[in-house]
């Protein structure tokens, strides 16, 4: 059983330790196993001897020792000398703080996990595992796959990295645009998964918080990249609204009906800062436009203020020029209904029909809402039932069932 102190130290120093070991030993398995081993040793030693003065430095030394042992064992097997440094001397240890002792290779670790040569589905999982320290079971839960499937996916991704010779260096300048794109799309997908669950209970809530840390970390490591700042802003804004996403019965509350008084002002302020920093760096990319959309909503101070639908619509128009995708089109239709009326929005929705929408729950939910408002009761009921048949999360289900019960005629 891990103590609270160990849990906190592992959480704050884990990525740093795993990153530093991975880069030194050029091996993700050694890094991961050595850190796990250090945590096991700490769980045994700390309760008896008392928590060390610098828990992170303790974990780093234990993990480094364990990694050196593993590398030696491997070297003996391979009859090669390990290409890794010795642990530092006691004198150095006493002088330096953990920040100075543990090298910061987290950015490299993120780039390794998000390498475009790794299967897209595995990148987010690997990043959550190695950089955020989530367990395989937690990631499997978040991605709705059996734990064994996720474990296999992670093993395969790590094997690909080792066998294909994915570099343990930050990419060369000419590779940056593509590599950073892979990192951003990976984190965007990972966060979308964490955000999906309005209830934010159990493993999901922790994972959303990790995404807040991770995107903030990336923004601090890459202060000169506009889209990186935008992603951090987006996650801050979206997480700021988490306290208002459920009503007292546990049903989801749509964004336009959420009480802004419940939103976290500290996170909104942080989002504003990231957004401003990103916008100062260059023209808005797709993430910056999405962050602006979130920022628009978060600027609302009370339910009495009219929702910013016209600005929202304009931003979706701009986003659509950069990213043609069904989610954007659908969200644009929602804004269109508010600005130009239901007829225009329904026409837009009809244009989307058939494009693999049958199994896309948000499509049916939007359609149901439009039909309900247009007074087309039987079509509304049918669309609500189609949404419910796609097995939405509990909070969404409650809300949809309530709306379905309200359809008369």
């Amino acid at each position: 059983m891990r103590s609270a102190g160990l849990e906190a130290a592992a959480r704050t120093a884990g990525a740093r330790i795993v990153g530093a070991l991975a880069v030194r030993f050029r091996d993700l398995d050694i890094a991961e196993d050595a850190f796990a081993d250090a945590c096991v040793k700490a769980a045994r030693a700390w309760p008896a001897a008392g928590e060390p003065r610098d828990p992170a430095a303790w974990l780093w030394r234990a993990a480094l020792t364990s990694a050196l042992d593993a590398a030696r064992r491997r070297a003996v097997r391979a009859r090669l000398r390990p290409d890794a440094p010795e642990a530092e001397t006691d004198a150095e240890r006493r002088l330096a703080s953990d920040e100075a002792i543990i090298p910061d290779d987290r950015l490299r670790l993120i780039f390794i996990c998000c390498h475009p040569a790794v299967a897209a589905e595995a990148r987010a999982a690997l990043t959550l595992r190695l950089v955020c320290g989530l367990s395989t079971a937690e990631i499997a839960w978040a991605f709705l796959v059996p734990e064994a499937t996720m474990a296999q996916r992670l093993v395969r991704a790590k094997r690909k990295i080792a066998e294909a010779g994915v570099p343990f260096e930050t990419p060369a300048p000419e590779a940056w645009p593509e590599r950073l794109d892979a990192v951003l799309s990976t984190l965007e997908i990972a966060y979308a998964k964490a955000h999906e669950d309005a209830a934010g209970a159990g493993a999901h809530a922790g994972y959303a918080r990790e995404m807040l840390d991770l995107t903030g970390l990336l923004a601090s490591l890459l202060p000169g990249h506009a889209e990186v700042q935008a992603l951090a802003a987006l996650v801050c804004y979206a997480e700021a609204r988490r306290p208002a996403r459920l009503d007292e019965h546990g049903a989801m509350t749509p964004l336009s009906e959420q009480d802004p008084c419940l939103w976290r002002r500290d996170l909104i302020a942080a989002g504003d800062r990231y957004l401003a920093r990103g916008e100062a760096l260059g023209p808005a990319g797709p993430l910056a436009l999405q962050a602006r959309l979130h920022g628009l909503w978060c600027a609302r101070c009370s339910l009495a203020e009219p929702p910013p639908w016209p600005e929202v619509l304009a931003l979706y128009d701009a986003l659509l020029e950069q990213r043609e995708d069904r989610v954007v089109r659908l969200n644009r239709a929602v804004a269109l209904a508010e600005v130009e009326g239901l007829a225009a929005a329904l026409a837009e929705l009809e244009a989307l029909e058939g494009k693999a929408m049958a199994r896309f729950a948000p499509y049916h939910a939007v359609r149901a809402d439009f039909m309900r408002r247009a007074g087309r009761a039987s079509e509304a009921r049918e669309a609500y039932r189609a949404t419910l048949a796609l097995d939405p999360a509990a909070a969404e289900r409650l809300w949809l069932e309530r709306r379905l019960a309200e359809v008369h005629g």
């Binding site: 040569a117 294909a164 994915v166 260096e169 060369a172």
Partner: protein
């Protein structure tokens, strides 16, 4: 690390003639590219078209011989390079610059023990 870069192209673009203008052009580009690679190039060659291919297939222990490539696909293995570069990113950079006559693909495969 050593990598094989396997070049897949639709061989129809080169036409039936062994020295079509398209073929002469791509050979010249590969010669220039090989020179540019220098020491990093450890080997490789273009391959004659699949019309010249013969396949020995083993199924349930029995060997059979037939005319043609191992799989009938639109894009065929048309040549390969063997390169020695520091890592996958370097191999990707080489693969990106590799000359192709039109659409196609370059598969990057690390050598066993390479």
């Amino acid at each position: 690390m050593q990598y094989a870069l396997l070049i897949y192209e639709d061989e129809a673009i080169y036409g039936p003639e062994k020295d079509s203008p398209a073929m002469r052009d791509i050979v010249a580009r590969h010669m220039a590219f090989g020179a540019e690679l220098g020491e990093a190039r450890k080997g490789g060659s273009g391959l004659r078209s699949t019309a010249a291919a013969t396949t020995v297939r083993t199924a349930a222990g029995a060997k059979s011989l037939h005319d043609g490539p191992f799989a009938e696909t639109k894009e065929q293995l048309g040549g390969f390079y063997l390169i020695d570069v520091p890592d996958l990113d370097a191999a990707i950079a080489v693969a990106r610059r590799l000359p192709l006559a039109g659409d196609g693909a370059v598969e990057i495969r690390p050598l066993l023990g390479g």
